[in-house]
């Protein structure tokens, strides 16, 4: 992508939406001025360091803080033995992303439920002292053997009675799946697994609590994907009012789902601040960030049956995913196998295995990533048996309706993804036989897969204030976790009032702003974007009324729909020479700003009549060294049908990042659980491998044109997640094409090829 000046200062009439504008917060981020939760250096700050449980199951029998407390400068050691009174009921510990069950309560009692459970917080005048003192807390445990073996849980056939938010149980079986499978002449029946994965955002989980010395008032700078979620949690647990618990999070150093639930550093820092009446910061270590939510390890058994001509005749897909003993974390894993392709005989089941681990947590495209590994790999296996091109199979069995829901799609330009992606990649030059393509001594493999995700809209509010000088401030308590929220909201607001982006400021990440949901589920552009558009339109109507009050106003007698806001002016659509300047109009208001607040509610009556999804086709090339088994992805093309693209620059980055995640999942990432101790052994960035720069090839991103008037008024579908779905399968399919070896246990590390 070429550089900067897409928006020329002279071209004031150009619409901002659809332009590849650079991030409005870019300057703050490249100069180190963007402040993250652990960087609000408030006066007289104390530092808390967490002591983590050495065992995964059992009880604390002794917790002796005396050696730690004897050090000058250590202020307090909090544990279950001296914690303040806390609520009794589970409902007080729930947040907006809590699965059914009994949420974990830090420092509640002596019971240990998972490895690295926080058991004490050491608070001292410096970070270094707190860290040292934490090593001196003497703990004895009555340890029990943890049960962390997922594969042993198939026999339980445990299905979650209810699911968490967003969960849809698998649909009832349709057709005659068993008979159809038995009769199908060409079949695949295989087991796919992937290990647990941890989000590992770059920023450590941190909360800085500022004690304001005014009653119990706190400023809480939290690493979170939703300030309101953190606020709700803190008010319920500690009995604070919303005014007392002011949560702020202007920047977040990566989320990927890890910040959808309040993490325990929030609880511990607020507890310490309230007890000590001091400002406190608690930062988790990278190791401790393996002690909470993660993508659950999942075992999947999938069978596909087809006719000789490639018609899909039967699908069976079972998944067994881990959850904790205390909460039923559920994600939609198998349902995709019932909606992705046309098939009349389908049986889908989703089981949970309860283990002595912390509850899993949504991680970028939760469930979709998992289920589509199995489905899209199995489809590739089926194509190999059929001797059929993988794209041809997908077009032959293309789903025109969502058969799970028996609904039409609001829009689905997946065919265009296949076509444009294949063309860009050069798929037509693929020689279908495995091991048939080489470059020098290395084997070359080309693989592809489909991706899919939900296009959702939730409820959000926004406020807009236009000053007499024509400066617009728009706000909503949403987040920008790197997705580009600041930028696209600025573009939407600028267009609504015909202002340049420099005249618009968008504020987020503050509970004093109008409510918005946490940033998750790829719904922020649709949800907050609609609220921003609505509230700015409401301001525009007010300005228009003022413009009509001007003596001899050329807009007199016009309706709002007759005018447009362009280049700082309100002009008649039919005669653009007839116009009033925005500041001229505002002068009629005696220098008073115009302020509007509004709430955007999805039109469910319309939306629920359709299946609403984004789609993608992903193509990758791998090089495999035959002797060493080393695998490198050498190029990738991702073609996305994601509705309207508000900003092609930040949109492309979301997809790039998602493809990087997919490659990383395919080849690198796994949290290795020690089956004796119930602990993730590789709990650091040296041993938990994430893709680094050298692992990532040039990646092409294509946005196919897709118009959708159903999903939301903006026609956007959300891009944070769709780009990762299918990528790991495409890499696995490419490895098969290169080597003739089908690896069904992800990540595909070199040892599995030797």
């Amino acid at each position: 992508m070429t550089s900067s000046s897409y928006i020329s200062a002279t071209d004031k009439t150009r619409k901002q939406v659809g332009q590849p504008a650079s991030r409005v917060d870019g300057r703050l981020k490249v100069t180190g001025q963007a402040k993250y939760a652990g960087e609000f250096n408030v006066p007289d700050l104390l530092y808390g360091v967490v002591v983590s449980s050495a065992i995964a199951k059992g009880k604390i029998t002794t917790l002796d803080p005396s050696a730690a407390l004897s050090l000058p400068g250590v202020v307090q050691v909090f544990s279950h033995e001296n914690r303040p009174s806390l609520p009794w009921f589970d409902r007080s510990y729930r947040d907006d992303d809590t699965p059914p069950g009994s949420p974990f309560r830090p420092l509640y009692d002596a019971e240990i439920k998972f490895s690295q459970q926080p058991i004490a917080l050491v608070v001292a005048h410096t970070f270094e002292l707190a860290r040292y003192a934490a090593s001196l807390v003497r703990v004895e445990y009555a340890a029990e053997t943890p049960d962390v073996e997922l594969s042993s849980k198939w026999k339980d056939e445990y299905k979650a009675p209810t699911g968490k938010i967003g969960y849809e149980k698998p649909p009832k079986p349709r057709g005659k799946p068993k008979e159809a499978m038995a009769a199908a002449p060409v079949k695949v029946d295989a087991e796919y697994t992937h290990a647990a994965e941890h989000h590992n955002p770059m920023e450590l989980f941190t909360t800085t609590v500022e004690w304001l010395g005014d009653g119990q008032k706190l400023n809480i700078f939290d690493k979170t994907q939703g300030v309101i979620n953190s606020q709700t949690y803190v008010t319920r647990v500690f009995g604070l009012s919303k005014e007392e618990a002011h949560v702020v999070s202007p920047f977040m150093g990566g989320g990927f789902g890890s910040g959808l639930r309040p993490q325990y550093q929030l609880f511990l820092s607020v507890l310490a601040a309230l007890e000590l009446k001091r400002s406190v910061r608690v930062t988790l270590t990278r190791q401790q960030m393996f002690s909470f939510g993660h993508r659950p390890a999942t075992i999947q058994q999938i069978a596909l049956g087809a006719a000789e001509d490639g018609t899909l005749q039967a699908v069976r897909h079972d998944a067994l995913a881990e959850t904790s003993q205390f909460e039923d974390y559920t994600e939609v894993v198998v349902n995709w196998s019932g909606s992705m392709y046309q098939c009349d005989n389908v049986e889908l089941r989703h089981f949970l295995g309860k283990l002595d681990v912390y509850t899993p947590l949504d991680m970028r495209a939760p469930g979709g990533v998992t289920g589509m590994i199995a489905l899209e790999s199995a489809v590739d296996e089926l194509c190999a048996r059929l001797g059929m091109d993988p794209i041809e199979f997908r077009l032959k069995n293309y789903a025109e309706r969502d058969q799970n829901k028996d609904l039409p799609f609001s829009s689905k330009e997946l065919r265009a993804c296949y076509r444009q992606g294949a063309e860009k990649f050069g798929w037509a030059h693929r020689s279908p036989e495995p091991r048939s393509m080489r470059r020098g001594t290395t084997l070359i493999g080309w693989g592809m897969a489909t991706g899919v995700w939900d296009a959702q809209q939730a409820i959000a509010s926004a406020k807009a204030t236009l000053s007499a000088l024509g400066q617009l401030v728009v706000s909503s308590a949403t987040s920008d976790i790197g997705t580009g929220t600041y930028t696209i909201m600025t573009q939407l607001a600028a267009d609504a009032l015909g202002l340049p982006m420099e005249a618009v400021r968008f504020q987020l990440g503050d509970t004093s702003l109008p409510a918005a949901p946490f940033e998750g589920g790829s719904l922020t552009a649709a949800t907050v974007g609609t609220a921003v558009k609505n509230v700015c339109d409401a301001v525009a109507k007010q300005v228009f009324k003022l413009a009509q009050k001007i003596d001899n106003s050329p807009l007199k007698g016009a309706d709002f729909d007759d005018v447009e806001f362009v280049g700082g002016r309100i002009q008649l659509r039919r005669d653009t020479t007839q116009s009033v300047g925005l500041t001229e109009a505002m002068a009629q208001g005696n220098g008073e700003p115009i302020e509007e607040t509004s709430t955007a509610i999805p039109n469910l009556l319309k939306q629920l009549q359709y299946a609403r999804n984004s789609h993608s086709a992903i193509f990758v090339e791998v090089e495999v060294d035959e002797d060493y088994g080393t695998i490198r992805v050498t190029r990738a093309v991702s073609a996305i049908a994601g509705g309207r693209i508000l900003n092609p620059k930040t949109a492309r980055s979301q997809i790039l990042g998602a493809v990087v995640w997919g490659i990383s999942m395919a080849l690198h990432e796994e949290s290795l659980l020690d089956l004796s101790f119930g602990r993730f052994m590789n709990h650091n960035l040296s041993e938990y491998h994430v893709a680094v720069n050298a692992d990532i090839p040039p990646i092409e991103v294509i946005f196919v044109e897709e118009n959708d008037s159903i999903v939301n008024p903006l026609g956007v579908k959300g891009l944070g997640e769709v780009g990762i779905v299918g990528v790991a399968a495409a890499v696995g399919n490419a490895v098969y094409h290169a080597t003739g070896r089908r690896v069904r246990h992800f990540p595909i590390t070199l040892d599995k090829l030797l």
Partner: protein, 179 residues
């Protein structure tokens, strides 16, 4: 049956170490610090001097978010104690721009959208400056390899490579398999 496990930490043998004087030049300005010897350069910058542009991502030299330039060389400031750098000349992300004029790498990172959450960005940019000083880059493959000490979890790597290649005027490798 439950079995007893005890954490066998040693009793403290000494009081916390006393602070010592450290002189650092940071972004051209002299600073006098009193810090204990166990304070890393990273924590000295972030917690004692409010240079929070330098980031902590792992505290173990595994992620590169804390990269700063010491006498022009890129280092992980989390693996360096402040006292070890007494008298050193340190450049952080806050010191790269010249007033309102961004450093070419800073501008290129914005132009190429070479970041998302922005948390690894100061380290990436300082690392790029160090890379330039080292003078080893011949092709974009070298950029990929020599920037691999800086993890970007958002996955902005292709844009990071483009941004750095633009500033260094780096060609792609001759044998590039890229389409």
């Amino acid at each position: 049956m439950p079995h007893l496990i005890s954490s066998s930490r040693p009793e403290p043998t000494a009081a916390p170490p006393p602070a010592v004087a450290v002189a650092l030049t940071i972004n051209g300005q002299p600073y006098q610090l009193q810090v204990a010897p166990w304070v890393t350069l990273l924590d000295a910058l972030r917690e004692y001097l409010d240079f929070t542009g330098t980031k902590k991502g792992c505290d173990h030299g595994q992620c590169g978010a804390c990269t700063v330039l010491v006498d022009g060389k890129r280092i992980n400031s989390c693996l360096t104690l402040a006292v070890m750098k007494d008298g050193a000349d340190i450049t952080t992300i806050e010191g790269l721009a010249n007033g309102d004029a961004l450093h070419p790498f800073q501008q290129a990172f914005i132009d190429h959208d070479a970041f998302q959450c922005g948390y690894c960005t100061p380290g990436q940019i300082c690392s790029a400056v160090g890379l330039q000083n080292e003078g080893k880059v011949k092709t974009t493959d070298d950029i990929r390899e020599l920037m691999s000490g800086n993890i970007c979890r958002c996955g902005a790597y292709p844009n990071i490579v483009d941004a750095i290649a633009e500033v260094l005027n780096t060609p792609p490798p001759l044998s590039s398999s890229a389409a």
